[in-house]
């Protein structure tokens, strides 16, 4: 694709590209690539299209690489055992056990696919897969993304790189594709599809990162900053039901460089200690399982130490065998190579000095926690024709790489079953023209227009969310009044999006990203407001309701009223399908 096109002078000067297909996959990431491969396996005559905001060989959350597959069912364990572990990791749920179980049954085959495609999975001398914890296995995943993408390309899917999705295409209540624009070629794209799989990834950048005030490190965050919640936003705008958006993903991460910590704490058994050298998990959280405590407890523990005046906190890597330390650095080079550079920029040898840790900014990532679309077993959302897979699909936490791959397959099968015998009407021109005008508006306001940049609005939103909706600076706490404040200002921000202007096509993408973030942030605040208890400290902490309330042992749901635009919240009951104590693995 040529370099960035010049700005169009008028809306009429924008070329429109019409594409018709059987299945449209929005986002050629972990889940999306597996959907494409599955489609070719089931019926190679179907036309599959991937619309991708970046270039699928290195796009999204897997672009930097990966050092582990966090779930792979070992010999002697069952999919039900994995669901039990998954449930206990989120404090007994409630989770969607039907979804978790169906995912678990597809999991190992999907990970095996990756190995068959060339992903090095580490094995011992006898050829057995090397586990680094109870469920997670070590990989050399530097090439993970290109490996998946090459298979998607081989599958015959038609790939539109550098096309950002901005809206779903609707036929009445039914989703029949998506609309967007080329961030390089500037063209307007209309994808008309029988079924659409929404696999855009999660939402980062809703909250301010504590390093954001440093000039060049606005994106020094753990989740890929280019996953901005567009997948959720386009569904929210069509009235799709969202589930568990209040269950944010907050994780313990290396401090000042928001890098992974499981690599050290799980992979290399380095204990978490506070300023006084106390082993936090053993001394303060033994009753909750110590090192095996639920994930949100482990995520929140270092922040509680800081709050109590016992920070800094560390992963104690001191005294590690040099050979092991080198292995650990290799793991980092596979997943976040610049963390190795960060340690070098501190002149730090982890064998001599422990690695400092802190809490991350909160993310909405349904492949990790369970926020996202409410979906059926076929992964169809409540919008007919719209499927979700990976980070966008809710109710089913701890999917990670293997589970997102598995869900990509499940969603594709759901899409194929759905579109049997389906015929579509001609796409609705009025809707298409309205979206075209909305997309290009910020580029056409004229040089004299006194407006706002995407960055200004993004930073306003991020500070608002940080301080009022439970960000890092507030140790993840929020309350009713702060959430009301946040919602009031989110409404003001939305009313001011008419002032957003873009200097070029790249900038135009940033403008639409901030609009999407505002829609996701609003829903998130409504969910946090509805759950008047504290069920998952750190992930969801209400300082005005600090205890668990059994009345909220259910799924919190929301839906946009299409007539008024208001977000309605309600509940759905929890159903235990897999037997056993919910709080134990």
């Amino acid at each position: 694709m040529p370099h960035m096109a010049d700005n169009p002078l008028t809306l009429d000067a924008v070329e429109t590209v019409h594409v018709t297909c059987d299945v449209l996959i929005i986002g050629g990431g972990n889940a999306g690539c597996f959907s494409a491969v599955e489609a070719a396996k089931l019926d190679p005559t179907r036309k599959i299209v991937i619309m991708e905001k970046a270039q699928i060989l290195r796009s999204g959350a897997c672009s930097a690489g990966m050092d582990a597959i966090n779930t792979y069912i070992p010999e002697g364990k069952t999919p039900e055992d994995l669901v039990r572990w998954c449930r206990s990791q989120v404090g007994g749920g409630p989770i969607r056990e039907d979804l978790a179980l169906s995912n678990a049954r597809e999991l190992n085959e999907s990970v095996d696919d990756l190995e068959r495609w060339g992903l090095p999975i580490l094995r011992d001398a006898e050829g057995k897969i090397r586990y680094r914890g109870a469920w997670d296995i070590s990989i050399h995943g530097e090439q993970l993304k290109p490996i998946m993408a090459e298979k998607a390309i081989e599958s015959g899917a038609v790939i539109y790189n550098r096309v950002a999705c901005t809206q779903l295409l609707m036929e009445g209540e039914r989703c029949v594709g998506a609309l967007g624009f080329g961030v390089r070629d500037g063209k307007f794209y209309v994808f008309h599809a029988k079924a659409t799989i929404n696999a855009t990834g999660g939402a980062a950048g809703l909250y301010k990162s504590y390093t954001a005030d440093a000039t060049d490190s606005h994106h020094q965050i753990w989740m890929c900053p280019y996953c901005v919640g567009t997948g959720y936003a386009v569904g929210i705008r069509q009235g799709a039901e969202m589930t568990s958006m209040e269950q944010r993903w907050v994780a313990t991460r290396t401090k000042d460089f928001c890098g992974p910590v499981d690599t050290i704490s799980v992979g290399y058994k380095a204990p978490i200690i506070n300023a006084k050298g106390e082993r936090i998990m053993q001394t303060r959280y033994a009753h909750l399982g110590g090192d095996k405590a639920p994930r949100y407890i482990r995520a929140n523990a270092p922040m509680e130490e800081w709050l109590a005046g016992r920070g800094p906190t560390y992963c104690d890597t001191r005294g590690m065998e040099p050979e092991l330390a080198k292995q650990m650095m290799t793991d980092y080079l596979n997943e976040r190579p610049s963390f190795v550079l960060f340690l070098a920029s501190r002149g730090q040898d982890p064998v001599k000095e422990p690695i400092e840790i802190y809490g991350s900014d909160p993310y909405i990532v349904g492949g990790h926690t369970q926020s996202g679309f409410w979906v059926g077993l076929d992964r169809m959302t409540t919008v007919p024709g719209l499927f979700a897979a990976g980070e966008t699909a809710g109710g089913n936490p701890n999917k990670f790489v293997g589970g997102c791959a598995a869900e990509g397959k499940l969603a594709l099968r759901g899409a194929f079953a759905y579109m049997q015998g389906l015929t579509l009407a001609e796409p609705d021109e009025a809707q298409i023209e309205a979206e075209k005008a909305r997309i290009y508006g910020p580029l056409l306001r004229g040089a004299d227009f006194d407006g706002l940049t995407a960055v200004e609005m993004e930073e306003r939103l991020q500070r608002l969310m940080d301080e009022y909706a439970g960000g890092t600076s507030q140790f993840y706490r929020t309350n009713e009044e702060r959430l009301d404040y946040a919602l009031k200002h989110i409404a003001m921000l939305r009313s001011q999006t008419v002032y957003l202007k873009a200097a070029n096509l790249h900038d135009l993408m940033s403008v639409h990203e901030v609009v999407d973030r505002i829609d996701v942030a609003e829903v998130l605040c409504h969910h946090l407001k509805f759950r008047k208890e504290t069920r998952w400290q750190g992930w969801q902490t209400r300082s005005d309701y600090p205890e668990i309330d059994p009345a909220y042992d259910c799924h919190v749901e929301s839906r946009r009223d299409m007539a008024t635009g208001a977000i309605e919240t309600f509940t759905r009951p929890y159903e235990q399908i897999v037997s056993g104590d919910r709080y134990k693995p």
Partner: protein
């Protein structure tokens, strides 16, 4: 802070529709300007994923940790081999460590083919 591009080495991947670094960037941050050299739209928006550094055929790009977070100056450079990667890391005290490992399996071998 991300990509520091050595314009003495960069040739904008002349002849390619899209330069390797443009192709690699998940954030659409890199572009080849009218001077024929790669540039970054916004330093602040880089994730430091190092995909562009890995892809640059002329070793013209390096990732630098923002000074607000890390001291001057450490360097980490990858050398991409066939199915392997070698990283050379030099810290602020001049200590250099090299890491080399396999990043792809030999698929032809695995499937009984010859190589």
């Amino acid at each position: 802070m991300p990509p520091i591009i050595d314009h003495k080495k960069c040739n904008g991947c002349q002849g390619r529709e899209e330069s390797f670094c443009e192709e690699a960037c998940p954030g659409d941050l890199l572009y080849v300007g009218s001077d024929g050299k790669a540039h970054c739209h916004a330093q602040r928006d880089c994730w430091d994923c190092m995909s562009c550094v890995k892809m640059c055929p002329r070793n013209a790009i390096e990732t630098r940790i923002p000074y607000q977070l890390g001291y001057h100056k450490a360097r980490l450079m990858p050398i991409m081999g066939k199915n392997s990667i070698t990283w050379k890391c030099t810290d602020i005290n001049g200590e250099t460590v090299t890491y080399k490992y396999r990043n792809r399996l030999e698929i032809a071998d695995e499937q009984g083919g010859s190589s």
